[in-house]
């Protein structure tokens, strides 16, 4: 492509645009896998028996309501695959837990998969994942 001033500007704008958003260093897929491996000891994870509820589009990444339910689990960990640190929260259910479920509100740095890993009473693991779009608002204020 001929490097006219118009082209150079367009290229520059594109490169510029990529650096404009003050994105933090995001978690790599490796970091997320490592965090999961630390939980499971590398064991395989089943699907099913765990429900993760998260909005399809989060109106603001600062406060995203989520809930998770895994009947029979001893603990559930939530991870955000593209946050600077993938670990978000761990719920450990005691003998007087009425259900192995919990709701909370989390921070998501950008559009990503939210992952829930439940450790079951027999030591096995199950996982669920939910894609959440995190939008950039129009007007701050």
């Amino acid at each position: 492509m001929e490097l006219t001033r118009r082209n150079a500007l367009a290229l520059g704008a594109g490169a510029f645009a990529a650096t404009l958003l003050p994105l933090p260093a995001l978690a790599t897929p490796e970091a997320t896998q490592e965090a999961i491996a630390a939980l499971t000891g590398g064991a395989d994870m089943g699907e099913g028996g765990i429900t993760l509820t998260a909005p399809e589009i989060a109106e603001n990444g600062n406060t995203v309501p989520i809930s998770v339910d895994a009947p029979g689990a001893t603990e559930i960990t939530i991870l955000a695959s593209a946050n600077p640190d993938p670990k978000v929260i761990t719920f450990k259910f005691g003998p007087l837990a009425g259900a192995q479920s919990a709701s909370t509100r989390i921070r998501l740095a950008g559009t990503q998969d939210v992952i829930a890993v439940a450790k079951m009473a027999d030591g096995s693991f199950v996982k669920a994942s939910s894609a959440v779009k995190v939008t950039i608002g129009g007007c701050g204020g």
């Binding site: 003998p95 479920s101 919990a102 909370t104």
Partner: protein, 109 residues
């Protein structure tokens, strides 16, 4: 101790023995993640609630390990079994060593 930290819990006043009830908890806490920068460009140190426990008459209902990705003013909703009358004790642990707690009684008919 972080300032302006106030816990708030919602527990039904009564229940039948063996009921499962819904509990909601909130605590006003900034949850400073440690990744924000101040006006000078320096990192604001992390200061979050890192742990929450709920016990009933001394037995564990729920324990939560929190990371900086939990939103400001941490909120939890969860279920508890109520075998008998007694007291729910809620405790939040701050990075800076502070401990905040509150309790709520429940009467079983």
């Amino acid at each position: 101790m972080a300032s302006g930290v106030k816990p708030r819990v919602k527990v039904p006043k009564t229940a039948a023995a063996g009921d499962v009830i819904t509990i909601k908890t909130l605590i006003s806490h900034k949850m400073e993640s440690g990744r924000r920068k101040d006006k000078k460009g320096e990192l604001i140190p992390r200061e979050i609630i890192n742990r929450f426990t709920c016990e009933f008459n001394g037995q564990s209902v729920l324990e939560v390990i929190l990371e900086p990705a939990v939103s400001t003013n941490p909120y939890f909703e969860f279920q508890a079994k109520v075998p008998e009358s007694g007291e729910f004790k809620f405790t939040w642990y701050d990075d800076d060593g502070s401990v905040y707690d509150t309790s709520k009684s429940i009467k079983v008919s």
